[in-house]
C-alpha cells in the first residue's frame, strides 16, 4: 500500500509535477504567449483536426469491423480478429515507417493515390491516415464486448412487434452501443493527440502545415527552449487530463446503463 504510493509518486507523479513547477517559473502571461504563438496554434490545428477526423473514421469503420466480428461467421474471422490488435502491438516508429512506405508515391497504395492526383505523404491526409491506423483497435475493442453482451431476445422482441431491421438497428441496437461508441471515440482521440512515432515519418514536419504539437515540443527541447516546450506540454497535459476524465465518466455512464438494463 505505502509502497504502491511511493512508487507511483516516484515514477509518475513527481515527474509530472516537475512540469507544473517548471511552468510556475514563468509568468502566466509568458506561458500564454508561448502556448498561443502562431506556430503553436497551427500545430494544435493539425493535431486536433487530424485526430478528430481519424477518431471519427475509426468510430464508423471500427464499429463495422466489430459488428462483422461479433455477428457474422466467415472464413478468416479469427485472423481478422487477431489483426485488429496489430496497431496496438506494433512499435509506433515501425507503424510510421510502414505507412510511409505504403503511401509514398512509389508505394503500393501511394501509386494509386498519385494516379488520382492525391498526395498522402507529407500532408495532413497522411497524418490522419497514420492516426486512423493507431486508433483502430481502441474502437473495435471497446464496441466488440458490448455487442457480444447485447441480448438477442430484445431484438427478437422488436422484430416480433413489427419493427423493421433498420428500425431495430436505429432504435434498439444503436442506443445500447452509444456509450461504447463514444468511449472508443474518446480513447482513439486521446491516443491520437499525443501520438508521435507513427506521425513523424509521414508528416514531413513542415512548420504551419504538418507539424503536430508533440513534434513541436520535441523541436523546442532539442533547441533547449525548455520554457517553450513546457508551455506546450502543459496545454497537452490539460487536454489529456480532460480526456481521461471524459473516458472515466463515459465508463461510469455505460455501467449505470448496463445496471438499469
Amino acid at each position: 500500500m505505502g509502497y504502491t504510493i511511493v512508487y507511483l509518486s516516484l515514477i509518475v507523479l513527481i515527474p509530472l509535477a516537475t512540469l507544473v513547477v517548471k511552468t510556475a517559473e514563468l509568468s502566466p502571461g509568458e506561458v500564454w504567449a508561448l502556448a498561443t504563438s502562431r506556430r503553436a496554434m497551427a500545430s494544435y490545428q493539425v493535431t486536433f483536426g487530424a485526430s478528430l477526423i481519424a477518431a471519427l473514421v475509426n468510430m464508423v469503420f471500427g464499429t463495422l469491423v466489430a459488428w462483422a466480428l461479433v455477428r457474422y461467421r466467415f472464413p478468416g474471422r479469427s485472423i481478422l480478429d487477431a489483426i485488429v490488435d496489430v496497431p496496438f502491438a506494433l512499435p509506433t516508429a515501425v507503424s510510421g515507417l510502414a505507412l510511409t512506405a505504403v503511401l509514398a508515391p512509389t508505394g503500393w497504395i501511394g501509386r494509386w493515390l498519385t494516379a488520382l492526383g492525391i498526395q498522402a505523404v507529407f500532408t495532413p491526409l497522411g497524418i490522419t491516415l497514420a492516426l486512423t491506423f493507431i486508433g483502430l483497435p481502441f474502437v473495435v475493442r471497446t464496441v466488440q464486448p458490448v455487442l457480444e453482451e447485447l441480448e438477442p431476445e430484445v431484438e427478437e422482441a422488436a422484430a416480433v412487434l413489427g419493427a423493421t431491421r433498420w428500425q431495430i438497428l436505429h432504435r434498439v441496437i444503436f442506443p445500447a452501443l452509444t456509450p461504447a461508441l463514444l468511449t472508443g471515440f474518446a480513447l482513439a482521440f486521446a491516443r491520437a493527440i499525443g501520438e508521435y512515432g507513427s506521425v513523424v515519418f509521414i508528416s514531413g514536419n513542415k512548420q504551419f502545415e504538418t507539424e503536430i504539437t508533440p513534434l513541436l515540443i520535441m523541436t523546442r527541447l532539442e533547441q533547449f527552449d525548455y520554457a517553450g516546450a513546457t508551455a506546450l506540454a502543459l496545454v497537452m497535459l490539460i487536454v489529456s487530463f480532460a480526456m481521461l476524465l471524459t473516458i472515466n465518466g463515459l465508463g461510469a455512464w455505460a455501467r449505470r446503463r448496463a445496471g438499469h438494463a
Binding site: M1, P15, T18, L90, T92, V94, F133, Y196, G197
Partner: protein, 289 residues
C-alpha cells in the same frame, strides 16, 4: 415478451421473413464483411507486408548484414536491457497496486486507479520530457547530479525511467479486475489456517493470478521494447550507446539507409507478432481458469 414470441411463431410470417428479422439480408452481410476485411487489410496488413517487402528488397544477404551490424546489435542489447529492468519493476508495482486496490477500501482509491492510467493518456513526448526537466542539465536535480558525476539523461537510467513510465499501467490494469473478481476468501482461509502473508501470496494468490499476470507482462514487455517517443527524448541518440531498436530504425531511415531501416523494423514487427500470439494463447488460459 416470451408470450408474444410464442404467439407470433405459429402465426407464421412469409417464408423468407423470420430469418431477416434478426439478421441482415445476405448482400448486406457480404458488404459489411468485405468492408471490414478491406479496411483492416488496407490499413494494417498492407503496411505490415510492405515492411518485409522493403526489408528484403536487396536480398537476404543485405538483410542479414543490416541486422548483424554491430550498431544494430548494440541497439538490440540496449532494448532488451531497458525492458529487462523496466518490466520487473512494473510487475512488482502492478501486483502490489492491484493487491491494495482489490483488497482494501481506502480514501482516494478511485483517484489511485485514475492515476495508474495516467501514463496511457500522456503523450510519450511529454513522458520523456518530464525526465529531462527533472534530471537534465538545466533540470531541477541537474546540478546536483552533475556534481556527483551521475548521468541520467542521454544515458541508460533515463531510458529505463522513460520506459518504466510508459509501461507503468499495463500489469496493474490486467490484475485489478482479475483480483477484484476473485475475492479474498481463499487468502483469508490461508491466513486463518496459519500461513504467513508471504506464504499466502506464493501459494494462494500467485497461482490464481498467474495467467493474468503473464498477460500483463507480455503487454508491458511489447510496449517497453517498442517505445519510441519517450525514449527518443531522453536518449540523445548516441549511436551504439543509447540507441534502442526503434531509435536505430529512425536513424537509419533519416540517413537514407532505407533497406537497413526496414530490416531492423522487421525484427520489431516479428517481436510484435510474437507478443500477439502469446497474448492469444494466454487469454485462452485466463478464460479457462
Amino acid at each position: 415478451m416470451i408470450e408474444a414470441r410464442a404467439v407470433a411463431a405459429p402465426a407464421g410470417a412469409p417464408a423468407n421473413a423470420p430469418v431477416a428479422a434478426n439478421d441482415e439480408p445476405a448482400w448486406v452481410r457480404r458488404i459489411v464483411i468485405a468492408v471490414a476485411i478491406g479496411f483492416v487489410g488496407l490499413f494494417v496488413l498492407v503496411p505490415l507486408a510492405a515492411v518485409f517487402g522493403e526489408a528484403f528488397r536487396r536480398g537476404i544477404a543485405a538483410y542479414g548484414r543490416a541486422i548483424t551490424d554491430p550498431v544494430a546489435l548494440s541497439a538490440v542489447k540496449l532494448t532488451f536491457l531497458a525492458a529487462g529492468i523496466a518490466v520487473p519493476l512494473n510487475v512488482v508495482f502492478g501486483v502490489a497496486a492491484s493487491w491494495a486496490i482489490a483488497r482494501f477500501r481506502f480514501p482516494g482509491r478511485s483517484i489511485l486507479i485514475t492515476l495508474i492510467d495516467l501514463p496511457l493518456a500522456v503523450s510519450p513526448v511529454i513522458a520523456g520530457m518530464v525526465f529531462v526537466l527533472l534530471f537534465g542539465r538545466q533540470g531541477l536535480l541537474g546540478p546536483w547530479l552533475s556534481a556527483h558525476g551521475i548521468q541520467v539523461i542521454f544515458a541508460l537510467p533515463g531510458i529505463v525511467l522513460a520506459t518504466t513510465f510508459v509501461t507503468f499501467p499495463f500489469v496493474a490494469r490486467e490484475l485489478i479486475p482479475l483480483m477484484e473478481a476473485q475475492g479474498a476468501e481463499e487468502e483469508e482461509a490461508a491466513i486463518v489456517l496459519g500461513a504467513t502473508g508471504w506464504q499466502t501470496f506464493l501459494r494462494v494468490t500467485l497461482p490464481k493470478i498467474k495467467w493474468g499476470l503473464l498477460y500483463g507482462v507480455v503487454l508491458c514487455t511489447a510496449r517497453a521494447m517498442g517505445e519510441f517517443g519517450a525514449v527518443s527524448v531522453v536518449s540523445g541518440h548516441i549511436r551504439g550507446r543509447t540507441n534502442t531498436l526503434p531509435l536505430h530504425v529512425e536513424i537509419l531511415y533519416n540517413e537514407y539507409e532505407y533497406q537497413a531501416a526496414f530490416a531492423v523494423a522487421s525484427l520489431l514487427v516479428l517481436l510484435a507478432l510474437a507478443s500477439l500470439v502469446a497474448r492469444r494463447v494466454i487469454a485462452r488460459r485466463v478464460e479457462t481458469t
